[in-house]
Amino acid sequence: MTIKRTLIWHSITIIGLLAATGLFALHDVDNLVTMTRFMEIQEKLNASFLEMRLLEKNYFLFKDDQAIHDIANSIRMVDGTLDDLSRDMIKAAGQEKYQDLRHALDAYRNKAQDIAASKARDEDSEMALRESGRQVLEFSTGLTMNARGKIGELISGSKRNLLISFPLFLVLAVFSTPIIFSRILSSLDKISLLALEVSQGRFLKIEGPVQNNELGAVITAMNTMSEQLRLREDELVQSKKLNSLGFLTAGVAHELNNPLNNISMICQTYEAMYDSIDAKDRLEFVSQIAGEVERIQAIVMSLLDFAKPKPTIFMPGGVNAVVRRSLKLVRNTLDVTNIEVLLDLTAGLPLVNMDVNQISQVLVNLFNNAIQAMSEDQTLAVRTRLSPDGMVEIEVQDTGHGMTPETLSSIFDPFFSTKGTDGTGLGLSVSYGIIKNHQGQINVQSEIDRGTTFDILLPAVESGEVENE
């Protein structure tokens, strides 16, 4: 179920329960008010009936003729009251009880009227009137008792309703609300964690089953995004590599030129002096050509190897070997530009879990940048050492033109370049991504006209293995 629907249903349930409890309570209070009013009326009626019984006594015992007329008057008044309040009374006591009271009262009135007319004071008349009066009072008292019982039931019913609805609320509030919230929050936690990882260049995915709700959709989208970013970065790494290749080519062209020239000269000599060279020299020529072709092949292979897209493979390896291998790739560029290399590699460094090709790419990129920043006869220094916090450190230092603090602050940004159309502005951003992906750090210091130093820190493998030199 979607979060929206869950929340709507949760709210509807709670609001519904609240409304129902409220309505029940209102209904109960309404009934109580009715019953209380009925009780008041009933008590007034009881008082009237008691008075009538007194009047009966006055008539029969004290021979007061006026008393029987007073009874009739009282009955009329009570009749009026019962007519006026019939609705309330029927509601409270029920049609049947109301009618019984009316009938009893009618019978009592008839008796009283008969006695008033005949002025009888005989024993039968007295008995009849008294019995009738007693019945009226009995009905009325019954009604009062009944009303008391009903009030009691209403109060205990109300109490019971509250006792049922309160635990229901409690269950909803204490159990279902935290469950709903924790489901949402745990998904949010996963998402924010992934967002953090992605922002730091680690394109991970949220594993496990995905909930079928809005956050599930966000997680799926984030996973897709992360995957896309990873693919884009792979593409970037590759494009950057091809870009480095362009720069490397200048050096490679020079390196290819020598064996090509050698072959060319042998061929020209062979052609021009075929007759004057002896068989032994001819054979020598051919084997020299074969040797030069091998030289060319080796150069082409190393270029192809560098350019080929490769899946990222982390393996424990030594940084010194990678530094040497990367320097080899820029060897010719260094020769062409007449830049000296100062190599200071610490022996016996711990191994590093790395993708050798990617680290080599980062180094080639840094070397190329350094070479481009320097003029002839300057020095490129490459050092490796163990950092104080136990990481393996590669330092690439040039004595080139350096960078301003403004430039320095954006060098790792994608598409930032100081080389105009000569740069893509991706080299260092890709390098940064690669080093981050290795759980490492890349730091830079630079001073105008003094040069730039890049520091790469890579975590050593925990096995404690060291690089054999």
Binding site: A253, H254, N257, N258, L260, N261, N262, S264, M265, I266, Q268, T269, A272, M273, S276, I277, Q288, E292, D335, V336, N338, E376
Partner: protein
């Protein structure tokens, strides 16, 4: 009349070997060196009419060869072999001291012709002197 003396300095051995074939065929004395240091040692004991040197070599480069040769023997003509179309400013500064910049890959006919021109130029200079 003595044969003209040519020195060829290139750390690629084949270049010297092949140049030697053709220059000897053209009638010159030829000495080849793959190590520029040894070449410069030799230049101290023997005057060469023309020195052909590669610009890019490990250790001592062509510019060093040029400077030393010109110091020892200003009349010696220097041909500089270079693979680069663009010369760096440092090299450019010595342009007037170099008889000719000769591109790699080497066309041997043109190369022999260039050496011949250098010898003629040297002869003209010597005559003038």
């Amino acid at each position: 009349m003595n044969k003209p003396c040519i020195m060829v300095v290139d750390d690629e051995k084949i270049v010297g070997d092949m140049a030697k074939f053709h220059l000897e065929a053209a009638g010159y004395d030829v000495e080849t060196f793959v190590n520029p240091v040894l070449a410069l040692e030799r230049a101290k004991t023997k005057r060469f009419d023309v020195v052909v040197t590669d610009l890019k070599m490990k250790g001592v480069d062509g510019m060093e060869v040029l400077r030393t040769i010109k110091a020892i023997s200003p009349s010696t003509q220097v041909i500089m072999i270079t693979a680069f179309a663009h010369l760096s400013t440092t090299v450019e500064a010595f342009r007037d001291q170099v008889f000719e910049f000769f591109p790699k890959p080497i066309k041997i006919k043109d190369f022999v012709a260039a050496v011949k021109r250098a010898l003629e130029a040297k002869g003209a200079e010597s005559d003038g002197a």
